[in-house]
């Protein structure tokens, strides 16, 4: 695989994609886990499938459609929850299902060749194009920039929202920004591990890291390192045994979590 890394662009792109995804997952995944937004993120991920379907139907880049749907879902869930006092769990479930339903509907309506959706659902890191790598880089810079230019505020927001409210900071805006960032992160992950598996890549590295440290920044740092190691390992195994990359990365991650948590006991 090392030879192939230099020989084939698609392997190089796959490696780059997993590094970028690991960096984003390390930071955003930690936030999702600590703010207990895992199911929220699952909802956003699945809603994006509707946008992917729409992209196919209307003939524009599906991932852009996914991005738009993800952002709309994130903002709507937060807004509807606040205005109708419906539990966010319920809303997330609705968006989740409607997104998937719309995706299937749009795709069935698109004429002619029916695309294979498994690469969106389960990811196909080996088909990541150089253009997509560029999109990933830009989105990652935006995400990390927003988090790290105001890290102390984010930390306070995650720990104790009320405290920021007392300071007079509008936490609604922070919430919207956070949800949009989560949407961007998920879209980054779609090509790598797919909609269905994205949540695993966001949550497993922080879960492993939390076994080693109790400091927010260190959890993020360790998660990035674990993410890179796990996705390389998964990629290597999937390449050698010719099995699907997304599933392999996830399974390798879960097994690692189990092994590490057993050893740390």
């Amino acid at each position: 695989m090392i030879d192939a890394l230099f020989e084939y662009t698609f392997i190089r792109n796959a490696v780059l994609a997993s590094i970028i995804a690991s960096i984003v997952c390390g930071v955003i995944g930690t936030i999702i886990v600590e703010k207990k937004l895992v199911s929220m993120s699952g909802g956003i991920a699945h809603t994006s499938f509707g946008g992917i379907g729409l992209g196919y139907l209307l003939g524009f880049e599906p991932i852009i459609g996914g991005l738009i749907f993800a952002v709309i879902a994130a903002v709507s869930i937060s807004k509807i929850r606040r205005e109708t006092k419906t539990k966010s769990d319920t809303l997330i479930g609705m968006f989740w299902a409607v997104g998937m339903a719309l995706g299937i509907l749009f795709i069935s309506m698109s004429s002619g060749y029916q695309p294979d959706m498994t690469s969106y659902l389960f990811g196909d890191i080996l088909t990541v194009s150089s253009v997509y790598i560029k999109i990933m880089v830009v989105l990652s810079i935006i995400i990390l920039g927003i988090i790290f230019t105001a890290f102390n505020y984010w930390k306070a927001y995650l720990f104790d929202e009320e405290y920021l409210k007392v300071l007079g900071i509008d936490i609604k805006i922070l919430e919207y920004i956070l949800f949009i960032i989560i949407s961007l992160s998920i879209v980054i992950l779609i090509k790598v591990v797919g909609i269905i598996l994205a949540i695993a890549l966001l949550t497993i590295p922080p879960a492993i890291s939390k076994l080693f440290t109790k400091d927010l920044k260190k959890i993020m740092g360790l998660s990035i390192i674990f993410g890179i190691i796990l996705s390389f390992l998964g990629l290597y195994i999937s390449y050698n045994f010719n099995i699907p990359s997304g599933s392999t990365i996830i399974l390798v991650s879960v097994v690692s979590f189990l092994v590490v948590s057993f050893l740390k006991k």
Binding site: T149, D160, V166, K214
Partner: protein, 251 residues
């Protein structure tokens, strides 16, 4: 003379009235205890003072340039959150004005150290907050507020989940802080209320307020307990204390 004046406020959550006929004067450097049943509006009163909740009518007048520090209930947040004691204290130095690339200065860190020393939590500075005892965590939260040097401290049930020696420690600390600051504390721990506070307000949708200059007298205590909470607060300690007072008067 007065730090905070609350005039005839009414506060609603939707159709539910949380507070009505709310009048309260908080004297500078007083030690005010706020008592009352759960759901009676005590925390709402704090939220109004902090500007987190707008009253439907009435007004809240806060002395100019008054810095108010708020210590929330420890049950309000996740104790497993990965944050260290020193970082919680430093959070108190966070700028009100949102700034990009905000960093804590050496001065901020020095102030945080001073406060941790004062509160005897410096040895815990690198502990994650879930590893602290209830009393220690309460000190950390008080520290986060103190690092900003507020004029008024609002504390929401600071002793509710503590054992009696930790309760006493916290009230001793508050008494100490009261030398320089106004302290307002929501509490159910009546036995400490008598020993430490100098004025009392009972909040049960409306506010019954007593502030005589010196210590509480039996008359106004009884008055306070005529407010509807007396059935809920059948604390043996209160009655014992009342009897003790009567007993000593008879001597």
């Amino acid at each position: 003379m007065y730090d905070i004046l609350i005039n005839n406020i009414k506060v609603n959550y939707g159709d539910v009235v949380a507070l009505k006929n709310g009048n309260l004067k908080i004297r500078s450097k007083s030690f005010l205890g706020i008592i009352g049943p759960n759901g009676g509006g005590k925390t709402t009163l704090f939220k109004v003072i902090l500007g987190l909740k707008k009253p439907k009518s009435g007004e809240v007048i806060i002395k100019e340039n008054l810095k108010i520090g708020y210590v929330p209930q420890t049950t309000e947040f996740d104790k497993s959150f990965p944050i260290l004691v020193k970082d919680v204290i430093l959070m108190g130095r966070l700028d009100k004005k949102f700034k990009l690339f905000q960093k804590y200065s050496t001065y901020d860190k020095k102030e945080a150290d001073k406060i941790m020393e004062k509160l005897d939590i410096k040895h815990l500075r690198n502990r994650q907050i879930g590893e602290l005892s209830g009393g220690q965590l309460q000190r950390v939260l008080i520290g986060r507020t103190l690092v900003n040097n507020p004029d008024v401290l609002l504390l929401d049930e600071p002793t509710s989940s503590l054992d009696s020696s930790a309760k006493k420690e916290i009230f001793d600390l508050l008494k100490e802080l009261n030398k320089e600051k106004t302290v307002v504390v929501i509490t159910h721990d009546m036995e400490y209320v008598y020993k430490y506070i100098d004025s009392i307000a009972c909040v049960n949708q409306s506010i019954h307020y007593h502030d005589e200059d010196d210590t509480l007298t039996e008359d106004n205590l009884k008055d306070v307990y005529n407010c509807p909470i007396n059935l809920l607060l059948q604390s043996g300690a209160v009655q014992k204390r009342m009897m003790e007072r009567e007993g000593s008067n008879n001597d």
